[in-house]
């Protein structure tokens, strides 16, 4: 100030102004212009933005567009495609695409590009599973034929998740400088730090409100700190932090099928092992009554309130609320008397008075295992063990350092797993006996011929709509199924809400039920987001 007073001429004033400006530039809390949105939602794809390797399978691929998409009610609607149909035998898809679509470099998107994308992804060895595709073929500029090797009603999900890349410019460098027909195009990606995108002028849909997006790829603590410092407009936080407050921001909780549940080995231990030497079977959990009783006694509402701070919902299947969810799965839980009755009817009773029930000299005891670094799973394991204690089942709880360790134990112990996706194929891999014990597929080696029949029928259904019925029946058909009323190979516990702090001015519309994977899925409708003053 002294400086200004003693030298009031304009040159010095300018200097002071410049210094002030310089300081302002350094100041981190400077407000962003409204056409720029800063997001700290995790989900940096280390290997780049190449859909043929798996980019974009959650939420929107952002830079690319897909043939179909799911709207906020999970209904399948068209995007690039204008119409699509499946032949009677379920082996030939015919898809026509819009004529006005262009890539962000101005070149038109044709059926050739779609053909190239699908055939390339099928060969790429990434996270796109196109094993049932025989080949994609462009018939003319806007029609593509997809022939399948076998009927697969879940194939339609590839149309929803696989972003179309340009045949002309797709190559080794593509993943780091993607070109697509999506609402945004990449400006720059500074790996491990941030990615900047701007609106794609060639986008065929409505121009998005935000001209520029900045994605911060920092870890959880850093992102939260940045939000507190007012540097971001939307930040993903773990449920435990959702109860905090950030000035100028609102908590936005999104329902998800990001679930957690107890997986039970369903076969007795006979000394058999897998080819990797992992022991198979557990005599206690092999008894359906034990599994049903546990399902019945667990108080899922209490788990949600106590462990998720209320940010979640009770889970009764792997797919709660999705179109292939069977509402009959839902039942009244927290019912110790009913659980005790199930046990007693099956011959489990406490004859030596130690509080733990036995049957034929076998004590109802097992170990619940969880990955040690996941605190929510740890709390769920501890709380579940506590809840089942009152019906005379004793569970030890053990954290393991890595999945690789758990892999050796998962066929013979109860494991806290979490799944949940927008593709019903998950149900098939979880419950079908065809791949039981193969990798993480059906680790409890659950077998039910009736369920297998429904699952096979669901895959072989003539189309997605027709498959829904069979997915539901595999859960409960009135007599048997994978739900807690049936064989109960799992005790599903909770669905997590995905929690975000968003700026008071940001309107993100209606978010769809999110799959497993906290973060990126919220961008599914990002082109509809707006800023309100």
């Amino acid at each position: 100030m002294h400086y200004v007073k003693s030298s009031p001429n304009s040159r010095h004033m300018n200097l002071v102004f410049m210094i002030l400006l310089g300081l302002l530039m350094l100041c981190p809390s400077i407000a962003m212009a409204k056409d720029t949105l800063t997001l700290a939602i995790k989900g940096e794809p280390a290997e780049g933005y190449d859909p043929t390797l798996g980019w974009g399978r959650y939420g929107s691929p952002l830079f690319q567009s897909t043939l179909l998409k799911r709207n906020e009610n999970m209904k399948i609607v068209t995007d690039l495609a204008t119409s699509y149909s499946l032949s009677k035998d379920g082996l030939l898809w015919t898809v026509t695409i819009r004529e006005d679509a262009k890539f962000s470099d101005g070149t038109p998107l044709t059926a050739k590009d779609v053909e190239y994308t699908f055939n390339t992804a099928a060969q790429a060895g990434g996270k796109v599973d196109l094993m049932s595709l025989n080949k994609a073929e462009a018939k003319d500029a806007t029609t593509i034929l997809f022939t399948l090797k076998k009927t697969d009603s879940t194939f339609v999900n590839r149309f929803i998740s696989l972003g179309i890349v340009p045949k002309a410019s797709h190559g080794p460098g593509y993943a780091r400088m993607p070109i697509g027909s999506g609402p945004y195009r990449m400006v720059e990606w500074n790996e491990g730090q941030q990615m900047i995108a701007e609106a794609n002028p060639y986008y065929y849909g409505d121009a998005p409100y935000f001209k520029r997006l900045v994605f911060l790829f920092t870890d959880e603590d850093t992102s939260f700190a940045a939000a507190k410092a007012g540097q971001v407009d939307i930040v993903v936080v773990p449920q435990a932090l959702a109860v905090q407050t950030i000035p100028g921001m609102t908590m936005h909780a999104v329902h998800s099928v990001d679930n957690r549940g107890l997986m039970f080995p369903t076969v007795p231990a006979t000394g058999k092992t897998t080819d990797k030497g992992a022991p198979i079977g557990n005599d206690v959990t092999a008894d359906k009554a034990i599994r049903q009783a546990i399902n019945k006694v667990i108080d899922r509402k209490a788990l949600v309130a106590g462990i998720l701070e209320g940010y979640g919902s009770p889970a009764y299947s792997v797919c709660d609320g999705l179109p292939w969810f069977n509402p009959a799965n839902t039942f009244a839980d927290n019912d110790a008397d009913a659980a005790r009755k199930i046990l007693a009817d099956a011959g489990w009773k406490d004859s030596d008075g130690d509080g733990i029930v036995e049957k034929n000299g076998l004590k109802a005891e097992f170990t619940i295992i969880y990955p040690a670094e996941r605190s929510i799973r740890q709390y769920l394991a501890l709380a579940s063990a506590d809840m089942i204690k009152k019906i005379g089942i004793n569970a030890k709880v053990e954290g393991k350092r890595s999945w690789d360790e758990i892999k050796q134990l998962m066929h013979s112990n109860v494991i806290v797993f979490g799944w949940g996706s927008h593709d019903p194929i998950e149900i098939y891999h979880l419950y079908s006996s065809h791949h039981a014990g193969d990798g993480y597929n059906n680790p409890g080696l659950y077998t039910n011929p009736k369920v297998d029949e429904y699952l096979d029928k669901a895959l072989a259904a003539p189309n997605y709509e027709a498959s829904l019925e069979y997915w539901m029946k595999s859960q409960w058909d009135g007599e048997t199924g994978t739900s807690a009323l049936g064989d109960a190979p799992w005790a599903w516990l909770v669905n997590l809400d995905h929690t975000y702090f968003i700026s008071d001015h940001l309107n993100v519309g209606t978010s769809q039920v999110e799959p497993h994977g906290h973060g990126w899925p919220i961008t599914a409708n990002i082109e509809k987001w707006t800023w309100i003053d």
Partner: protein, 330 residues
Amino acid sequence: MNTTTSFWLRKAGKLVLILTMVSVLAFTLVSLSPIDPVTAYIGMDRMQISTEQEQKIIERWGLDKPAPERFIKWAKHALSGDLGQSMIFNEPVTKVIGKRFTTSLWLMASAWTISGILGFIFGVLAGTNRNSLLDRSIRFYAYTLASTPSFWLGLVLLSIFSVTLGITPICGATPTGISPADATLWQKLHHLILPAATLSVIGVAQIALHTREKMIDAMNSDYALFAFAQGETRRGVAWRHALRNVALPAVTLQFASLGELFGGSVLAEQVFSYPGLGKATVEAGIRGDVPLLLGIAIFSALFVFCGNLIADVLYGVFDPRIRIGSEEAR
């Protein structure tokens, strides 16, 4: 054959031996690690990926072949300068290391310079004025910080200067929304302050303590005693006689500390979300990216080797008596 040539030949031979051993050892360790890279890669997509597709991924990464065969294949390529393709970044390993190291270089270079210079000055001051208040405070500082984990110090600095005071940025190497190419030198430096401070504040301790010991030795040596006897002051002895003798071990230490610097930056980068080589190393480790880990192991071995080599060469510069080829001259 003159001594200069044999010196370089010996060094080259040593380097080849070191690199061979590092790669064999690193490969063996990674192969024995229980981490399954395919599991790490597929992650939560597990239930959407069929076993056939999983087999495709395994084939893409060449993991269907036995370990020795993979190593030989890798070594052949490595000899021609191709370190392979990083699994997690889907990019050539050399490219990943190059990009990440450029970012880390800023951090390491500034931390290294600051800690070297400050450490040396502190050590000389403390050693010259042994047991003075200055010496005791420097020692207190050094002992405290020598035992401080760098990530912890980083967190403390972060919570004070970035979260509470808000004068330094919270994360990254450039401001939010500004690409590295557009960022001004000022902005880059601003983002460098905290991580560099974390690294150098701790680095200072080692250098200062070692230099102090050497300084004390030098101040008690015969030549120092002789100088004192001729009426030289403490400062004079330190400046004119001891300094040159102390500089030599200090330089060795400084260049030998490149390894520690490397390790320290891994932790500091993690804390400050500074996207350098350290963060890439952690990623590669958790997700079992064998080619990248091997590449980084070799690169860091080379880095540390170069540090030691420079120290060897600098000996001659500081002390002509041990200059290369001095035997011939004699």
